[in-house]
Symmetry: C2
Subunit: 345 residues, 2 copies
Amino acid sequence: MGMIVRPAAELRALATGILLGLGAPEAVAGRVATALVESNLVGHDSHGVMRVPMYTAAIRAGTLDPAGALTVVAETPATLFLDCGWNLGHYACAEAMRRVMEKAAAMGIGLAVLRHCDHTGRIGEYVSMAAEQGCIGQVTCNGSLPGGLVAPYGGRGRALGANPLAWGLPGGPGQPPVFLDFATAAAAHGKLEVAAAKGERVPEGWIVDRDGRPTTDPREALEGGAILPFGGHKGYALGVMIELVGGALSGAGFPLLPDYRWDQGTVLTAINIEAFQPLAEFREQVGAFCGRLKAQPRAAGVEEIFIPGELEWRTRAQRERDGIALPEVTWAALLDEARAVGLAA
Amino acid sequence: MGMIVRPAAELRALATGILLGLGAPEAVAGRVATALVESNLVGHDSHGVMRVPMYTAAIRAGTLDPAGALTVVAETPATLFLDCGWNLGHYACAEAMRRVMEKAAAMGIGLAVLRHCDHTGRIGEYVSMAAEQGCIGQVTCNGSLPGGLVAPYGGRGRALGANPLAWGLPGGPGQPPVFLDFATAAAAHGKLEVAAAKGERVPEGWIVDRDGRPTTDPREALEGGAILPFGGHKGYALGVMIELVGGALSGAGFPLLPDYRWDQGTVLTAINIEAFQPLAEFREQVGAFCGRLKAQPRAAGVEEIFIPGELEWRTRAQRERDGIALPEVTWAALLDEARAVGLAA
């Protein structure tokens, strides 16, 4: 598969132009484009600019409204319930996290719950935003294809969404945020599709076939099987909680139930560190711990122990410098989208 | 090993009497005894009355103060920073969760951070408390033996504590709370000790030997090896976040660093569901989802799909009815403790 390399700024401008051409206000187009390119920069290309055609199709189909207003459903000095008007989650989540941090600055903690929210994108971005402003951020969301993707522990049918968790805080002095961002599914659906297309096997423990038997053939999961939760019953329990909190608190509902409509029941919190410790002291502590953790003796064959988020920041520095490599087919699809809205691309 | 069966009420009264005899105020003694017996009832005997001699030894040594006052270090309408005066975590956490729920009733969310807190016990109890009052509760804590117990992902030395996470919410109509409560370690230290004493092997993926090589011999973990995080790099990242949030926000510090003193940096949140949805509607949604999840097709050889917390509530009903079985040695130790404080046992 041929690859093409483009600087981040060019991809950002291109994605912004496409979204503007489809009626997104400047604030939305800029924010979504930034989020997409940020995903490419940190190495999570599955959430990057390759998603643009998916969003443009949804905008043209009328299920996603890039001009949809964010409406406050209910509010307290510490909490916010936001109807996102079926706008893009990249915009809604960033705006919600901004307002949550304002509440946290006054109240020590802030919480937002979102409904009628299209794809949230890479939720690690919003906890990094919080961390860069001196907060501890946590984000979860439910929402999936109808019926779900992930089997319950002990089950063989699809029932749960990928139900990701992101959690981040400021890094040591001069260091970027420490953060995690993972699906409670053992593997992303997209990774199975890629492996199936290449005729490759996937690691044990990722998937089951239609009878609930472990398999390493991704086609068996895609054709009636299911993805497993990560980490056995613990990862399963975490996925159930993210499903319930997101679906029931927001009213977005559950992919497993009838009459489900695609939505992302999203829950964002920010804790203001200064309500408990001076931020500089907190960061000293984080830095001291992370330094010692990285210096721990390694298992045989392991070259380096990583702090959560460290690989992402390293990739970001490299791609910011060298550009972002995209499959030629992705690049061609972006140019098609640009031409479709009348951009000279 | 001989076993003896006693009703919950008798164990509660015995543990209360022992703690009163060692200077605990009635509120502390009653709360701690209730928490210990609650752990036995739901099937987590490792956190039950067998812990009493550990606490009495710490009280006699002066490192644990059952009369220690809870002091507010800082407070906002939504948050609380509490110095627990080295009192028992069972008391401090329950009291903190009570105050957090008061804040959530007014503000939609409440948060407490605890320091100078002895063993928190089974943290699933505090999220169940929140759930029974119409809240979503979340609790994490760090703290461990100096040096830690759990290896980083890719490492072979002990570095992290067991760093548990508990999360719970109200169950469907007429149902008990749905909750999870797990260590981010693949296995509890106590389980390794029990297996080693019996000369048994443990499952693959739990432990490494002193060279970081996977093993199933628990003695190799106990003698210079380490416990692994559950769920690979995801469980590791979760353990690191719980370590950092608990240790740095509370100031309790980290077992990995020099000059560490045993403490449990504990973070409790409660979200008032009624700030977002009518509680009855929320519970209807949870009930509909859980009913459908339980009815999913099962994998070969699996008899039942469980909702998180369901096994605990089932065990609780059985033990409330039939009594709690204790090893004779545990029972004898309790009677010794009772006699030591002058109770006619």
